[in-house]
Structures are given as structure tokens and as C-alpha cells.
Amino acid sequence: MDKDIEYRFLTHAGFRKFISCLIDGFVVYGTIKKDGFPAFGPITDSKDLVLARTPTHLSAKEFFFPQREALLEFDMASGSHSPIVESRDQVVIGAHPCDLAGLGLMDRVFSTGSTDVNYLARRERTLIIGADCMPDDYCFCESLGTETIDKGFDLFLTEIKSGLLVSIGSEKGEAILSKYTKPLPPKDVHLRESAKALEKKKRSFKARLSAPKEELPGIYAKSDAHPVWEKIGAICYGCGSCNNVCPTCYCFDVKDEVTPDLSGGERVRVWDGCTLEEFAKVAGDHNFRRSRADRLRHRFNRKFRYLSDKFNSLFCVGCGRCSRTCLVKINITEVTNELIRDARTEDEYLGVPAAARKG
């Protein structure tokens, strides 16, 4: 348990009441069961909320950076443009530590250099209630240090037998919790149960990276010519699913949508994906990343190397969504471990005289 964080305790009934109060005051999104799987969706009844143990199919990024959003509206006759900044008071419940880590990276992207008013307006007006989780076969956040998180949320929920342990992440979070509920100070038994759950979670990871995260940018930098890119390029469908489900993929297209009567329209941005064939194509049909191998190498490097200089952080949070969703089972931990293995072999070779090598 983090000693700097304050905790409260809510009974299950108290928690349900809290959710009902939030529904009365805000637009609320949270984790639901959709076709039997955990997903984010609108919560209009406290019973809709099902705190998910394993990751949702899509990350929580859509609530801050929607798949489609208007940036401007224009009038075709006068040509005038006016900005659109869509935002409303909303609550997002059930984002796991990996999602919160991803959101922290998105915050940096959209506030560094040119600030993005559209993203920041949504972020500003969103109350974030995180929730703890258990890894499935693809989760490898522990290898990247994102299995726990102590910031980036207003409140954070850990389910225990008798109720919920709530970590306070912000004054805003504490204020709203006290406004709608009568939270109790946690008992030692609650904290012990939560600590035990965390230990169990840490023991449960099946997918792991075989090198410390600090070494990954360097390993990727040595791997541009590695055969793994051709190997996975040969089976990749170029469908862009990995980009869509990723909590830190933020590339977008900007295009105009005109109303059917041609009187006006909107300039919108929509998610785009670097694994799609058109992504780096310019006029005259020249494609700067012609093959699927080129495009996959670019995507993997963006997660582990390219953005680390600029933001001093990896851009993979270990949620495993890209591997989980991939139609041909390209697996981010397996690919990275293959690079780690071969980078190390190469290092040994460089350090050891040829005569001393075996085989």
C-alpha cells in the first residue's frame, strides 16, 4: 500500500448509491458487459456498471480523443470557419492502471508544443475513477512498471470482500466522494486484503518482457534490420486493429465532411493508423513505408523507442490489447522478447573472442 495515498472505505451498497448519484449529476461511462466481454459503455443505472477484472477490448482513450470529432465548422457560401470544442462534464469509471498510464501519456502529447484545446477541454471536464484488475494471458504491464499507479485518477477502486477500498487521487475526487457518500476510514483488515490482492496480481502475469524497460529503446535501436519485421509483415493483414485498441496510439486524419445540401460542413479528425497502407503515402502514390514490415517496425518503434527521446517515457503501457485483438496473433511481448534475445546474443558475441565461442 502506498503510504502517501489516502484511502476510504465504501460498502457495496454505499458504492452503488454513489454511482446512482453520479448518474444523476453527470454523463457517466464505465465498464459494462457487452456480449459477455468487458467494454466501456454508457452507465444509466448503477446496475449497468460491472467492474472489469481483465482489460476492455478498447481503451478509455475514446472519452478524451474520440474516434471522430469536429474541430471546425464552415460555411460554404461565406467560407467562414469557426472552431468547435466539444466537451461536457463526464465521469469515466473502471479504467485500469494501464489505461491511466496511457492517458497520462496522451496528456503529455496533447499539451506539449501546440496545445490541443479539444483534447484538453474533454480532459478538464472528466472525473476519472480507476479500478484495479487481474492480468489475463496478454497483460504484461508489470514488465513496464504500470501494474500500479499513484496518479492520473481522481479516485481509484480496489474491490475487496466487504466493499471497496477507494484511493483518493485528487481534491476533486475527494470532494465528490464526500458530497455523495459517507466514506469511512479503512480498517487495517481492508488495507491488508488489498495488499494481498496486489501481491496475487503480481504473481499472476503469464506474459513478461525478458529485459528491464530501460533497455528497450536501445534494443529496438539495434533491431531495424532484424528478420522479425519481415516475418510478422508477411502475416499482417494491415487492418489497423492494433492502432485502434491501443491506449497510446494518437495518430489521426483530418478531413472535411460536407452537409448533403452543400451549404456547409465540418472539419473533423478521425483516428488513423500507421499500420494502414495509406498512412505515409503522398501525392504521386509514393509510399514512404511501402511494406507491411516497414509499417509494423514503425509502430513497434513508436511504442518502445521513437517517442522515448521526446517524452522520456516508453509509449507502451503493457495492456496487451494489440496482441489480444490481432487477427493473425502478432504478439508484442513475443516480438520484443525475440529482439531482446538476439540483441543480447549479439552483445555477447561482441564481447567474446571468436575462438571462445561455442557452436
Binding site: 460554404m76 472535411d256 500507421c274 514512404f288 514503425h298 518503434n301
Partner: protein, 278 residues
Amino acid sequence: MQEQKTNISAYLPLRARVEKVSRLTDREKLFTVSVPTGLKLRYSPGQFFMAGLPGYGEAPFSITSACLSPEDTTFELGIREVGNLSAAIHRLVSGDSLWIRGPFGRGFDVSGFAGKDALFIAGGIGMVPMRSLIKTLAWQGAGNKYTVIYGAKTPEELLFRDEMEGWRDKGFDVKLTIDKPHPDWSGNVGVVTTLIPGVRLDPEKTVAIIIGPPIMYKFVIMSLKEKGLGPEAILVSLERRMKCGLGKCGHCQIHSSYVCQEGPVYKLSELKDMPEAL
């Protein structure tokens, strides 16, 4: 016009006015565009504007004029008709509005040319941004040795030929080439690299600038290396797809570098660890 932190959308374009349209070739037109009075127009050669029209979107277009005075209120874009947006821009006439954001990107550092000879190597539409640099340096008139090598597929596709006498008057040695023999052409035939061996240059004090179609760079760089030019002495301007100009949308990214911010102009030495760049 500089990018700044603001609560106003960075996507909101500014209404600029088309002052003059002249046809350059079958496919390219030159647009003289003015910004509203009172607005300070500052740009360096090599920079670009995002220019668009409502309903057609926007795209990056290189500036082809030179910003020679702080009083300037007009600039020029040379635009090839290739898609919906550029076709719509080609239909504009003087008095029409063109919507712009920018200027964006890192252009040429003009002070870096002081005391240097320069070899300008352009292919096709690469002459559009190159002209901005040539005009800037011509205006400075420092008396250095300037050589222009410019190639296109056919004589008709060579841009700004009517201006080249003026460049020669300023002391530029202008060498032209076309890709294949043509009945109206008595000059050099072959790609631009065929003209490089014949150029006499001092590798200690020459900067070479390359702007052209993607295929051109590797071959020109090989020829320049044979001339003794190192990666510090070669400048390139790179073309990429761009949707925002703000270092966000990801389309222009080469390794860690966003071309819309850190480019489009790079020293070759900066691209050393970026095999995808060229």
C-alpha cells in the same frame, strides 16, 4: 503567425486573398496570396503553409517566394494539380479566398550560407521551395559561387525558366536537364546526377541543397560524396504526408522526428540514424 499556446483552436485557418494566379505549366500554377493588413508575415525559405478550402480540406504547400522585407504582405505558392484540393485551388481566381495556417516547419538557416558556395540541385516540383532559397540568397548578393542544377521530365515541365536569366544576371550558373530526348531541347539529357560530375566545386566551402522527388536523393547524395562533400555540407528538404502541421497527427514522422516541426529541411548528418528518411 507564430505557433503559440492559446485557447484558440490551432486548426482555425486565416482567410488569405488570392491576388494573382499565373500558369506555370500544364499542371502547376503560381498563386500570389496576401494576408490581412496589419499581420506580420515572416517565413524562411523551405517553410510551408497548410492551405485549404472549406469542403476540400487542407494540405501542406511549399512557399516559393522569398521573405525579403518585414513589410511583405504577400507570398507565393506553386501548386501542382494532383487531387481534389489542389484542383479546387487551381479554380481560384484573383479576389478569391484561400484559407491558411502557418508558416510551419524549420526552413533553411540563411545565415549558414554566409561565405559559402552553394550547389542547388532540384528535380521537378522541388524547384518550388528551392526558388525561395535561391531568391533569398540572390537578394543577399554576397558574391559567392552559386550553381543551380535543375531537371524535369520534359522541357515544358521545367518551372520558372523565364526567371532564370535574372538568376544568371545575379551570378548564378544555371544548368538544366531533361530526362529523355525531346525535339525542342538542345541542352543536356539525363537525370540531374549526370550534371554533377561536371561541376567544379571546393568541398571545403560548398553547401549542396537537394529538393526533388523521393527517388532522387540517394543518387544525388552518392554523386556529391564522390565530389568530396560530407554529410554536414548536404542539406535536404523532405516531403511527407501531413495533416496537422503541429507535430501531432503522426503522418510525417520519420523515426523520432516530426518533419512538420523539425523538418522539412535537414542536414544529411541529422539523418544518419534514420534509414527511413531517404
